[in-house]
C-alpha cells in the first residue's frame, strides 16, 4: 500500500550550486503563429503555454509577432530602457549613501514596462506594481518629480506619506502604487468596467509579479474581467523570484501563469519578457482585443529579477550569484541594442554616447531634486500635512490632533 507523499516544489539551484534553468520551457523566435486579436479564448491556449519570441540570438526579428516598428521607435525604446537602468543604478547608490531609505530596482526587467507603455495609448490607465518604474519613464514623468518622491522632500508628490518608489501621476494616467501586493489588479478591472459603462474607449492595464498571483485579488481580477469582458490587460511579470520564494511556490511548476487566463475564460499569452519586440507585440494584440470589446488578456512576461528584491534584500543567501549570466533569455537592453546594430541603425559608440547623455540627465535631475531637501537635510515638509487628505475635509478630531502637535512643536521636538 502506498501513501501520498507531500510534494515540495524543488528550487533548481541554491548558493554554491550551478545555475539550472532546464525547467524553463522555451520556443524559438518566430516559431508561433499570431492569430487575429479577435480569436476565441480557447485558440490562445497554446500561446499561453508556449513562449512568444521575436528577437533571435543574432538580434534578428523573426515571425508573425514582429511588430515591425520603425527605427525611431526602436531607438526610443532603447533610450527609455537605458534610462530606466541608469536611473535604477543611481538611485540604488543614493540609498547606499543614506540619502533615501529604500529602493527597488527593475534591473533585467526593463522591457516589460517600457515596451508595454509604448504599445499602449497615452489615455490608457496603468496600474503599476513597485517594479514598473519603466512605465513612468516611458510616459515621461519628470525624473525630478520621481526623485523628490524618493527623498520625501518638499516637492514629494505623496507629501511624505509613502515609502520611496510608490509614485503616481494623474496627468500621465499612472495609478498610485500600493505596497500591498496584487490589490491593484481588481481595481484595474473595475476601472476598465467603468470605462465600458461610460462608453469610453480607454482601456486599463495592470502589473503584478508571479508571486502575487497567489493572492485572492489575482483570482478576483481574472474572474471579474472574464464575467464582464472588461477592457483590461492583466500582466504577470514572472521574474522567477518573490524575494527568496521561487516561482514554483506560486504554482509555476509544469504550468504557465498565462494558462490561467484560458482556464478562467480570458485570452492568455506567454511572452519572452526580455524581448522588447515580443512584449510590444503582445501588448498591442491584447490592446486591440480589449478595444474590440472582446475583453481581457492575461499576459505572462517571462523575465528574471537580476537584482535584489529591494535594498533590504540579499539574494546571494538564496540563489547562485551568477544566475543572471546563465539566464536563457539574456539581457533585454543588450538584445534590443544588438537588434538595432544588426539593422545597421546603431553602434557601440552611439550607445556609449547615449549612456553618457542619460547619466548626465539623471545626475542633473538629482542635483535639482536635492535642492528641495532630503529626509534628513534641508527644507522639510510641514508635519501638519500628515492630517490632511485622510478625508476630503479635516474632521474636528483631526483638527484637534493637528493643533495638539503644532503646540508641541512650538516648544520642542516632538520626539
Amino acid at each position: 500500500m502506498t501513501t501520498p507523499k507531500l510534494h515540495v516544489p524543488a528550487v533548481p539551484a541554491r548558493p554554491g550550486e550551478a545555475p539550472d534553468f532546464s525547467y524553463l520551457r522555451l520556443a524559438a523566435a518566430g516559431e508561433l503563429a499570431r492569430p487575429e486579436p479577435t480569436v476565441a479564448v480557447n485558440e490562445t491556449a497554446q500561446l499561453a503555454e508556449s513562449l512568444i519570441r521575436v528577437l533571435d540570438d543574432d538580434g534578428v526579428a523573426r515571425g508573425p509577432w514582429d511588430p515591425k516598428l520603425d527605427v525611431a521607435t526602436l531607438k526610443q525604446g532603447l533610450r527609455y530602457m537605458l534610462l530606466t537602468r541608469i536611473y535604477d543604478e543611481r538611485m540604488q547608490r543614493t540609498q547606499r549613501q543614506g540619502r533615501i531609505t529604500f529602493y527597488v530596482r527593475s534591473y533585467g526587467e526593463e522591457a516589460v514596462s517600457v515596451a508595454a507603455a509604448m504599445a499602449l495609448s497615452s489615455n490608457d490607465m496603468l496600474f503599476p506594481s513597485y517594479r514598473n518604474q519603466g512605465l513612468f519613464l516611458a510616459r515621461e514623468v519628470s525624473l525630478k518629480d520621481l526623485m523628490c518622491q524618493l527623498l520625501s522632500n518638499t516637492r514629494d508628490m505623496c507629501l511624505g506619506r509613502q515609502l520611496p518608489v510608490m509614485y503616481h501621476s494623474t496627468e500621465r494616467r499612472l495609478f498610485t502604487i500600493s505596497g500591498n501586493l496584487a490589490t491593484q489588479f481588481p481595481q484595474a478591472v473595475g476601472w476598465a468596467m467603468a470605462a465600458a459603462i461610460k462608453g469610453e474607449s480607454d482601456i486599463a492595464a495592470a502589473w503584478i509579479g508571479e508571486g502575487s498571483t497567489a493572492a485572492a485579488d489575482f483570482h478576483h481580477a481574472l474572474l471579474f474581467a472574464k464575467v464582464y469582458r472588461a477592457p483590461v490587460i492583466l500582466n504577470v511579470v514572472n521574474n522567477q523570484w518573490a524575494i527568496s520564494t521561487f516561482q514554483g511556490y506560486a504554482g509555476g511548476e509544469q504550468r504557465s501563469f498565462a494558462a490561467r487566463g484560458p482556464g478562467v475564460g480570458v485570452a492568455g499569452l506567454r511572452v519572452d519578457g526580455n524581448d522588447f519586440l515580443a512584449v510590444y507585440a503582445a501588448t498591442q494584440w491584447a490592446a486591440s482585443r480589449a478595444r474590440a470589446g472582446l475583453g481581457a488578456t492575461l499576459i505572462e512576461t517571462v523575465t528574471y529579477r537580476a537584482g535584489a528584491h529591494s535594498t533590504s534584500d540579499d539574494p546571494s543567501r538564496y540563489r547562485p550569484r551568477e544566475e543572471f549570466g546563465s539566464w536563457p533569455l539574456g539581457d533585454p537592453l543588450e538584445r534590443l541594442k544588438n537588434h538595432l546594430i544588426a539593422l545597421g541603425a546603431w553602434s557601440d559608440s552611439e550607445h556609449t554616447q547615449l549612456s553618457e547623455e542619460l547619466e548626465r540627465l539623471v545626475a542633473d535631475a538629482w542635483k535639482e531634486a536635492m535642492t528641495h531637501g532630503t529626509l534628513t537635510e534641508g527644507e522639510k515638509l510641514d508635519p501638519a500635512l500628515m492630517f490632511s487628505d485622510v478625508y476630503r475635509e479635516i474632521p474636528p478630531h483631526l483638527q484637534q490632533q493637528r493643533a495638539e502637535l503644532a503646540l508641541l512643536l512650538q516648544t520642542e521636538d516632538a520626539r
Binding site: N180, A192, I197
Partner: protein, 339 residues
C-alpha cells in the same frame, strides 16, 4: 411624505440617486434581477438597466476591489455586501486601499464608494448572519462609518453617503428593516407604519453624516447607543419609568462628540449600549472620549451594555442579545435604584 419601512427607504435613496446622478451604479450579490436577499435593491435593475445595477460573482474582495477602480474612474458605486458577516474578504481592499487612496496619493486619486451591509442580530441568523463589526471599521482612518436606526435617517444618510466624496461603510441593522424592535422576541412584530420616523419624503433629501440625534430628551441619565439598540433602550427607559436622554449616535466616524458630551454633562450619568461584543467594541471609544470630556460632571462610572464577548450563538440568541432587561438593570445600577 409616504409611509416606508427601512427597506423601502433605502431602496428609495438609491432610486433617487440613480435618477439624479449618471455616475451612480449599484453592484453586489443578488442585487440585480432578484433585487437583493432583503429586497433593498428591488426593481432598480429593471428601471436603470443591467449596466448600472450589476449582479456580481460571490467574491466580496472582488466586489470592493472592482468598485474602487470604478470610483477612481469617475463613478459613484454603491456596493452591497450581503451580510456584514461576509465583509472580511474585502477587509484588505477597504483598509489598505479604499481608506488610504486619497492620503497616499495626496488627493490625486480617490474613490467615493458607499458600501452597504446589513448587520446585527435578532433574526435567528446564528454566528454568520448576526455580527456587528462596526468597530473594526470605525478604527480605520480614512473611511466614514454610519448606522441608521429608522427609515427617515436610513434614506437621508444613504443619500448623504452616496454624495460624500469620502468612502462610507453603511451598516443597516437588519432587525429594523421591517419595523422597530425593542428586544422582546415574544411580542408580535411591529411595523414602521404609524411610526413618526417611518414617514419618509419620496424625493431627494439628506441627513448629514457626523451628527448624532436625540431620540428622547431627558435629564436622569444619558444613554448613548445606535442601531437596533436605540429602540431597546427607549423601551427599557419606559419600562423603568426613568427620564433618560437617549442619543442615537448615527455616525461612528465622524463622531458627534459635542452632542454626546453636552448630554452627559447635563445628566451626569452615562450608559453606553450596543449589540457588538464589549471588549474593544465601539463603546470603549465612546466611554474613553466621554470621560475625557465629562469626568468632572460624572456622578457615577460610565457603564456599558453590550453583546457578551463570544461569537454570536444560534441557540442562545435571547440570552446573548443585550435586551431590555440588561439595559434596565444597568439603568438601576447607574441611578442607585434598589432592585
Amino acid at each position: 411624505m409616504t409611509a416606508m419601512n427601512m427597506v423601502q427607504a433605502l431602496n428609495s435613496a438609491m432610486d433617487v440617486m440613480l435618477e439624479r446622478d449618471r455616475r451612480v451604479v449599484v453592484l453586489g450579490e443578488d442585487v440585480g434581477y432578484f433585487g437583493g436577499v432583503f429586497r433593498v435593491t428591488d426593481g432598480l435593475q429593471k428601471k436603470y438597466g443591467a449596466h448600472r445595477v450589476l449582479d456580481t460573482p460571490i467574491a466580496e474582495g472582488g466586489i470592493v476591489g472592482a468598485a474602487i477602480g470604478m470610483g477612481v474612474n469617475g463613478l459613484r458605486p454603491v456596493a452591497e455586501i450581503q451580510f456584514a458577516d461576509y465583509i472580511y474578504p474585502a477587509y484588505d481592499q477597504i483598509v489598505s486601499e479604499l481608506a488610504r487612496l486619497r492620503y497616499r496619493s495626496a488627493a490625486a486619486f480617490t474613490a467615493p464608494l458607499t458600501i452597504r451591509t446589513p448587520c446585527g442580530g435578532g433574526i435567528r441568523g446564528g454566528q454568520t448572519h448576526s455580527q456587528s463589526p462596526e468597530s473594526v471599521f470605525a478604527h480605520v482612518s480614512g473611511i466614514k462609518t454610519v448606522m441608521p436606526s429608522n427609515p427617515y435617517d436610513a434614506k437621508g444618510l444613504l443619500i448623504a453617503a452616496i454624495e460624500d466624496d469620502d468612502p462610507v461603510i453603511f451598516f443597516e441593522p437588519k432587525r429594523l428593516y421591517n419595523g422597530p424592535f425593542d428586544g422582546d422576541p415574544d411580542k408580535p412584530a411591529e411595523s414602521w407604519a404609524g411610526h413618526p420616523l417611518g414617514e419618509v419624503p419620496e424625493g431627494y433629501y439628506s441627513v448629514p453624516i457626523g451628527k448624532a440625534a436625540i431620540a428622547r430628551e431627558g435629564s436622569a441619565l444619558s444613554i448613548v447607543t445606535y442601531g437596533t439598540m436605540v429602540h431597546v433602550c427607549l423601551a427599557a427607559a419606559a419600562a423603568e419609568g426613568v427620564d433618560a436622554e437617549i442619543i442615537d449616535v448615527r455616525s461612528m466616524m465622524p463622531l458627534d462628540i459635542d452632542t454626546l458630551a453636552a448630554s452627559v454633562e447635563k445628566t451626569g450619568r452615562c450608559l453606553i449600549a450596543h449589540e457588538a461584543t464589549r471588549f474593544a467594541g465601539f463603546g470603549a471609544e465612546l466611554s474613553a472620549s466621554l470621560q475625557e470630556r465629562c469626568f468632572w460632571s460624572l456622578e457615577a462610572p460610565i457603564m456599558r451594555v453590550a453583546g457578551w464577548d463570544t461569537p454570536y450563538p444560534h441557540a442562545f440568541e435571547w440570552q446573548y442579545f443585550p435586551g431590555k432587561k440588561r439595559v434596565q438593570q444597568a439603568i438601576r445600577q447607574l441611578l442607585n435604584i434598589e432592585a
